[in-house]
């Protein structure tokens, strides 16, 4: 039997040494070749479960190995590939301690439904042949036989909404561009994913670049564009390389260029590298950046569908939206609309990160509850801590408290609760997270990333930063919360672009759901979570302390000492970092009021 060994070479696994694993496996295959079945090693894009990487999957047996090291290679080839026996120590262990052999039986993967990620982690992203072998470019061939109206009707029927954040119906966007008679028209793929902790688009571009291209080609056919741009942030070195390579391969096969698949339609794509500005993910700033100007948004009273890149009709969609298009054309809009909820159809890719057991890339049907996403797929909070909040939608998204864990994840519900879908970052926080500090962190991030063009965003953020820094360092004043709310409301209504109008979200939602924490900071000079250094001291509870001195080992300032052979005490040189509390397995270290203020 021919076996394929899939080695995940997504960013997370690469950092864990998957390239070495791949090399070792290739060497082991070569060494065993004399009596081996035909067997090949394929380097794929991100398989999802980054926490337990490097991941190795053996097909067609569907045996999945986690945390594989190069020295496991020989055993994998000898035992699994040649003899068909699984290696127990490399398998996933579920909550009851059973070994899980197949990927689908792992709860992390079991609840997922993959459309955008259908090929990511399964095919060799560098090979156009593998993409075609997995049904790639069949949607393009089909679209070439459809009229523009038919394509758009299919997309409209699917009900797909833009995956980049705002959730604008894609079909409607295409329709308004298609009816315009002016030319040229452009299609743009927005791959300027800048949210901290998000890596959905990067993983798709790296792991399945041709599906993005195919989606864009179909979009270009539908609206009548002959040129397209892929704006990719320059930090995504892999994605830039992979997309460029994919474009070249598609050109060679006659899928792009003078004539698409022998028809009289022509289409050219090129990659534009972003210069590292978060604001360039905003559509008008992105276009300005492609034009060679400073990446600053402009007022969108005239939509970019009418006047976009160089004043021409432009359809700009997110990477994930484009990737969904081939599926919609192949399976039909109706089939897509059956997945998810009524207002938000299909699936959504999330980057599940933060204080969650299994961090990684997941794709789930819209309407899944946060509880299912975090506790069943993500495996809950590590070290049996308490869940506190989850932030959705990147730095300008809001956070959702534990009491709302059962709300469905879709565009409208999240908006109703003060946050947003965004591009799909999902940061989980446990009870060792201070919500005021959390708001301060994101406002700080946005202060540097705002373009600074309009007053509410530039000045509002600076004021919020100053007020929040004061609160975190114990200089909060009565009225600060109200002032933050007032500034936030002006920013929402008056900012020039979506960055400014969503920037107060982290602040406003934390005030909405965790007002008591703000009040504790301001009135009692106390940080309930024990994070704000100026307000926190740590003490050892001698009743539960076992005297293991694990805390002493991690303390960066050597503030934990043992006097006369007794239990540890914390001295004045404590910096308040909280590493001791995190490392203590007996919860013997407690945060108490104190610190510098």
């Amino acid at each position: 039997m021919t076996r394929t060994i899939l080695v995940c070479c997504g960013t997370g696994c690469r950092a864990n040494g998957s390239m070495d694993v791949s090399l070792a496996l290739t060497a082991a295959v070569a060494a065993a070749a004399a009596d081996a079945n035909v067997c090949c090693v394929t380097e794929t894009g991100c398989s999802g479960l980054c926490e337990l990487g490097p991941l190795v999957r053996i097909m067609p047996d569907d045996i999945m190995y986690y945390r594989v090291r190069p020295f496991d290679a020989h055993e994998i080839i000898q035992k699994t590939v040649l003899a068909g026996e699984p290696i127990e120590r490399l398998l996933f262990k579920d909550s009851s301690g059973n070994h899980v052999l197949h990927q689908a039986d792992n709860p992390f993967y079991g609840h997922q439904k993959k459309i955008a990620l259908r090929n990511v982690g399964i095919i060799d992203s560098r090979s156009i042949d593998e993409y075609i072998a997995h049904g790639g470019y069949s949607a393009l061939a089909r679209a070439l036989e459809m009229t523009s109206d038919e394509i758009i009707r299919e997309v409209e029927e699917s009900g797909i909404r833009g995956r980049g954040g705002a959730g604008f119906p894609t079909g409607r966007k295409w329709r308004s561009a298609a009816v315009l008679e002016s030319s040229p028209k452009y299609v743009i793929c927005n791959g300027d994913e800048g949210d901290p902790g998000a890596f959905m688009d990067g993983s798709i571009m790296d792991g399945d670049p041709h599906s993005v291209l195919e989606g864009m080609m179909i979009g270009a056919l539908a609206i009548g564009a002959e040129e397209g741009f892929l704006y990719i942030r320059d930090e995504y070195i892999q994605a830039v390389k992979s997309m460029k390579k994919a474009i070249r391969a598609a050109e060679k096969r006659g899928l792009l260029g003078e004539s698409i698949l022998g028809t009289n339609r022509k289409l050219y794509f090129s990659v534009v590298r972003g210069g590292g500005a978060f604001v360039c993910g905003e559509s008008t700033a992105l276009m300005s950046s492609i034009e060679g100007n400073v990446g600053e948004p402009r007022a969108k009273y005239i939509h970019s569908v009418e006047k976009g890149l160089w004043g021409c009709p432009t359809v700009i969609n997110n990477v994930e939206t484009w990737t969904n298009i081939p599926f919609i054309i192949n399976a039909g809009g109706k089939k897509f609309a059956e997945i998810g909820t009524e207002g938000s159809t299909g699936t959504k890719v999330f980057a599940l990160v933060g204080k969650v057991k299994y961090t990684g890339l997941v794709e789930v049907p819209m309407g899944i509850t946060l509880r299912k996403l975090i506790f069943e797929i993500g495996g809950g909070i590590p070290n049996n801590r308490k869940f506190k909040a989850v932030q959705t939608g990147g730095p300008s998204g809001g956070c959702i408290p534990a009491s709302l864990l059962d709300i469905p994840v879709d565009f409208d519900t999240l908006k109703e609760y003060g946050t947003m879908m965004g591009s799909g970052g999902m940061i989980v926080m446990d009870d060792h997270s201070c919500m005021v500090e959390f708001a301060r962190y994101y406002v700080n991030f946005l202060c540097g990333e705002s373009c600074g063009k309009c007053t509410p965003c530039r000045e509002g953020l600076r004021h919020m930063q100053s007020i929040l820094t004061n609160i975190c360092s114990g200089y909060g004043r009565e009225g600060d919360i109200e002032l933050l709310e007032m500034i936030g409301s002006t920013m929402i209504d008056c900012s020039l672009c979506a960055l400014g109008s969503s920037a107060p979200n982290p602040v406003l939602t934390t005030i909405r759901y965790f007002r008591d924490e703000y009040e504790a900071h301001i009135r009692e000079h106390r940080c309930p979570a024990g994070v704000c250094k100026a307000l926190t001291a740590f003490s050892v509870n001698h009743a539960t302390c076992k005297g293991c001195m694990a805390c002493n080992a991690v303390c960066p300032t050597r503030a934990i000492v043992r006097l006369n052979g007794g239990f540890p005490i914390i001295t004045k040189s404590c910096d308040g970092c909280g590493s001791c509390r995190d490392v203590c397995r007996f919860n013997a270290i407690e945060a108490v009021k104190g610190g510098r203020v």
Partner: protein
């Protein structure tokens, strides 16, 4: 022609006309800082926000950029709008604590004094008017640069390098207006257009009898060689002449007219 109402007053306007222009024509006051009739709108100060109700949905827009495209109802002074204007002015006061204009406006609009430390700034509110003025009328404009390049091709020694004289530098809260690398610009002609449009008087121009200093660069004045009237900076006169495709004659308009009249008179032998 489209019929709209602004604060209940019926107004007529052309399709695509900006809301601010319509309001001003009908004597309806909307405060602005970054707007200038002669320059393209940028919508950076956000002081001119108004509420627009279109088919039952109300939104806040900036009137200087909002094109009228259908029948809308506009409210320029609702509670919500006034609160936003107050907040914007209050925020700007902290950005430009030395500006009298902003201080006066804060007083007039009743903007609160925010309990936050002032920005270590002067009078600049980063509205971007100066940059737009320099881009369009000064040496920095694309059209001008193209022209200058053409002239350079014809052996003209005028400097053609680089972008506009001034531009917005940095981003976010550290944004400012400056010349490249904060150094005296090579292509600045000292026309003072930027200082002229600045709503808060941030751009300092120091003038003596002989010349003017702006953006850290000194310019010599040029005077009419007939009557001695001040013409502007030397570079400005040369620049204007070059844009007109002639050699600088260093004459004031009156003397130039007189000279050509004299020449005409000579030609006809009347003198």
């Amino acid at each position: 022609m489209i019929q709209i109402t602004i604060d209940g007053i019926p107004c007529t306007c052309k399709k695509g006309e900006k809301l601010l222009a319509v309001a001003r024509r009908n004597n309806i006051f909307i405060p602005t800082l970054c707007h200038h009739d002669g320059l393209p709108g940028m919508g950076s100060c956000r002081l001119c926000v108004v509420e627009v109700t279109e088919s039952g949905r109300t939104k806040v827009v900036v009137s200087c950029l909002y094109p009228v495209r259908g029948e809308i109802e506009v409210v320029t002074n609702s509670e919500r709008i006034l609160a936003h204007r107050k907040m914007i002015l209050a925020l700007l006061r902290k950005r430009a604590p030395k500006s009298d204009v902003i201080a006066h406006m804060c007083e007039a609009f009743g903007a609160p004094d925010l309990p936050v430390a002032s920005f270590d700034g002067g009078k600049c509110i980063l509205c971007g008017l100066c940059v737009r003025a320099c881009d369009l009328i000064g040496a920095g404009s694309v059209a001008t640069r193209t022209l200058l390049k053409k002239l350079a091709g014809q052996g003209c020694a005028y400097p053609v390098a680089g972008a506009g004289v001034i531009a917005m530098v940095n981003r976010g809260t550290t944004k400012s207006v400056s010349t490249p690398y904060d150094e005296p610009s090579e292509i600045c002609i000292g026309c003072g257009g930027c200082a002229n449009v600045c709503p808060t008087g941030e751009i300092t121009v120091t003038e003596t009898d002989d010349g003017r200093t702006i953006w850290g660069k000194e310019f010599k004045f040029a005077f009419c060689k007939e009557c001695g009237e001040l013409l502007g900076t030397d570079k400005e006169v040369r620049y204007a002449a070059q844009r007109g495709g002639r050699d600088p004659d260093f004459l004031c308009p009156a003397c130039r007219q007189k000279r050509s009249a004299d020449a005409m008179a000579d030609a006809f032998g009347r003198r």
